[in-house]
């Protein structure tokens, strides 16, 4: 967590091989990791920036983004207690779930972390990645980059070459963690943040982990850059509830890839929420890698003004007798664009697969908002149950009239419809704090529309 002596090259605009070397040296990393970072940088340099001609980027235009122009690293002060964190972060924590372990990454550095003694005693490890590399090198070396490799895509290459901060969670065999573990990523400079999350849930263990991203930036600020990778390993019979809550300020360009691997009879429930940022692109891939594994994938997004929110999902059925169920629901208003592209892939031999995928979009107002929905199936086994469905619609005038005829003003009626729409997802969220946060965020996004309508 050292904040002193950050090399000048890390604090200046521009990303380069020098930056990669300086970062690795600054963090005093083992040579295998330095080599890995350099290799990732080379891949990054070799890989062309995706364009709208690429299938995976057909609707999301990133041609204006000059990644290498961002300042690669920003330090932050170490704090001893929660009370010394920035007020806004304290507020996030207070409004969040009760937690049994907490980590706060402020810009590129971890500013504090804490684990309940009881969990420590059970052998649970929760720390930033640099500390983990020093104290638990073997397991980190074995798992890091295993699910989001440096050649996954251009952003993953950069995330491998220049990650800093991040978090590592290890839940030992059979340990059941009741109270959620939470990390916050807070960005209050114009620059970049490149966290990585590495979660290893050992056999029969269970845990809930929440990654939350927030920053005070507004549309009027210069662009900032967030680029992450999340690797989730869930062992045999283990269970992981993973929540990603992206609520960045409106000046952030957010890129993230979340991939999971499930052991026999393991279950993974993911909830990916995207509300903030100017542009947000998240890849969520569940690997059903062992028989009996089960993945529930929930997604919720709400884009307004000029936001672009893009999710690409994959339910990758590799093993037989596995189950996956995806439900992504989104709303778009103003000139916003949302993209959902979801693939169910059933590989040869993945018999008795049960896979479902649903994407529903709600367009609010009669403005120029757009929701793209691209559900796909790719099935190479014959004894499977798969289905997918996708709908995109507006708030029904007939429904609004019905509610208004009962005395409910239009704005309130719209709110009810939107909450009702998201209810299918939020009712499946068992975390009270997360649910309340979402309700407030949705409320705020709908609230905007009423003000504009009055204006």
């Amino acid at each position: 967590m050292s904040t002193n002596g950050v090399p000048e090259v890390l604090k200046s605009k521009g990303m380069s091989v020098e930056v990669v070397k300086a970062l690795s040296a600054f963090k005093d990393e083992p040579s295998w990791l330095t080599e890995k970072r350099l290799q990732a940088w080379r891949t990054y340099e070799k890989t062309p920036m995706p364009t709208m001609r690429d299938e995976d980027w057909r609707y999301t235009d990133i041609s204006d983004i000059e990644i290498e122009e961002f300042v690669p690293y920003a330090s932050s002060p170490d704090v001893e207690r929660e009370g010394d964190l920035p007020d806004a972060v304290q507020k996030l924590i207070k409004e969040g779930e009760e937690n049994s372990a907490l980590l706060v990454q402020h810009n590129s550095e971890t500013t504090m972390s804490r684990v309940d003694e009881e969990l420590k005693a059970k052998g649970l490890i929760f720390t930033d990645l640099h500390t983990a590399l020093r104290e638990h090198e073997d397991i980190v070396r074995q798992k890091l980059f295993g699910l989001v490799p440096e050649d996954y895509d251009k952003f993953a290459s950069l995330a491998a070459a220049l990650f800093s901060g991040g978090s590592f969670l290890y839940v030992p065999r059979g340990v059941e963690v009741e109270i959620p573990i939470q990390s916050y990523r807070w960005l209050d400079v114009i620059g970049s943040i490149m966290p990585r999350t590495l979660v290893v849930v050992d056999e029969g263990a269970s845990v809930t982990y929440i990654d939350e991203y927030a920053s005070p930036g507004t549309e009027d600020d210069e662009y900032a850059f967030s680029n992450g990778a999340v690797e989730l390993y869930v062992g045999q019979g283990a269970s992981l509830r993973y929540v990603s809550l992206q609520n960045w300020g409106r000046n952030v360009l957010h890129f993230n890839t979340i991939r999971s691997e499930a052991g026999k009879d393991a279950s993974i429930n993911s909830l990916v929420v995207s509300l903030g940022a100017d542009l947000s692109r998240t890849n969520v891939e569940a690997g059903l890698t062992a028989p009996g594994s089960d993945s529930e994938m929930l997604g919720l997004y709400f884009a307004d003004s000029n936001q672009v929110i893009d999710h690409h999902t994959l339910q990758d059925h590799i093993a037989h007798d596995a189950h996956s169920d995806l439900l992504y629901k989104g709303a778009a208003r103003d000139e916003a664009l949302t993209v959902f592209s979801g693939l169910i892939r059933v590989e040869p031999g993945a018999q008795k697969t049960d896979a479902y995928q649903t994407n529903r979009n709600l367009i609010l107002g009669t403005e120029d908002a757009m929701a793209i929905s691209l559900p796909r199936l790719e099935i190479q086994a014959d004894d499977v149950k798969c289905s997918h469905g996708s709908t995109t619609g507006q708030v029904d005038e007939e429904e609004l009239f019905y509610m208004m005829s009962r005395g409910i003003p239009r704005v309130e009626a719209e709110k009810l419809v939107v909450f009702g729409f998201f209810g299918e997802v939020t009712s499946r969220i068992t975390l009270k704090g997360v649910k309340e946060k979402l309700d407030r965020a949705i409320e705020a996004k709908i609230g905007l529309s009423s003000e504009e309508r009055v204006a």
């Binding site: 005038e397 009239f401 019905y402 208004m404 009962r406 409910i408 003003p409 009810l416 009702g420 299918e424």
Partner: protein
């Protein structure tokens, strides 16, 4: 006529309305006094639901001529929610399904919207329990999503439940009796009779005389091709049921009248 002789509750005058450029209402006149219950009958497509929707302010219809005065106010200038708050209520022929919004949540929002003073959760709960009992609805209905997956009869009961909860001055019931079994019809009739009194008026749109046995109308009107062509006492309803609409068409249909 057994009108209670109160003041004028509703006055529709020479109402013309169109949808997608097609004129449907071609000069409707209707007066309902305080405390009265009127029935409107008429063949399919004659414009009964259109009249109901226009009275409540459905956005798809355009009023091109005429006026609607409710309780002394010109309602054509009012949004549907304002009309509801002024005391109008429409039980829909085809109520909308609203996914994700529970009956209880919906009613709470609606009741608190029309009342000057909000009810506290306990009062709200009690009121809902009481009214559901009258409608012989299982309490579990309160937690179901509004009309989603409701049977035809359940939707109709739910409309009357809303009527009871909102306690309006004027209720327009658009074929609330259609598709109901005898028991349900009696329940619905009980719901409406519960409201009956000197401060409550209703317009029942129906095809069948049978509901009028339970809810006795002060006056019966016949609608044909976008107009109310004739009116009378409850005998008129019996006559219509016996003889059908042909004689009405012959006497009042297009071509026979101005």
């Amino acid at each position: 006529m057994s009108g209670n002789g109160g003041g004028l509750m509703l006055k529709v005058e020479n109402l013309h309305a169109e949808i997608d450029g097609q004129e449907i209402l071609k000069g409707v006149d209707l007066e309902v006094n305080l405390g009265e219950i009127h029935a409107i009958m008429g063949p399919n497509g004659s414009g009964k639901s259109t009249l109901a929707n226009v009275m409540m302010g459905h956005p798809r219809y355009e009023v091109t001529e005429g006026s609607i005065t409710f309780d002394g106010e010109d309602v054509l200038e009012m949004e549907p929610d304002e009309r509801a708050r002024a005391g109008m209520f429409l039980a829909f022929q085809y109520p909308s399904e609203i996914p994700g919004v529970s009956v209880a949540n919906f009613l709470r929002t609606a009741v608190n919207s029309v009342r000057e003073q909000e009810l506290n959760p306990m009062e709200m709960y009690k009121l809902l329990q009481e009214k559901m009992k009258i409608m012989k609805m299982d309490p579990s209905f309160a937690e179901r999503y509004l009309n989603e997956g409701f049977s035809g009869g359940e939707k109709k009961r739910n409309e009357i439940l809303q009527l009871l909860m909102l306690d309006p001055k004027l209720a327009i019931l658009d074929e609330t009796d259609s598709g109901l079994d005898i028991d349900a019809l009696q329940v619905v009739a009980r719901g409406v009779n519960e409201m009956r009194g000197p401060e409550f008026s209703a317009v029942l749109i129906t095809h069948y005389q049978r509901i009028l046995r339970y809810i006795e109308p002060d006056r019966v009107h016949v609608m044909l091709d976008g107009r109310i062509v004739t009116s009378g006492g409850k005998k008129l309803a019996e006559e219509l049921e016996d003889k059908g609409y042909d004689w009405v068409r012959q006497e009042f249909g297009a071509g026979t009248q101005s």
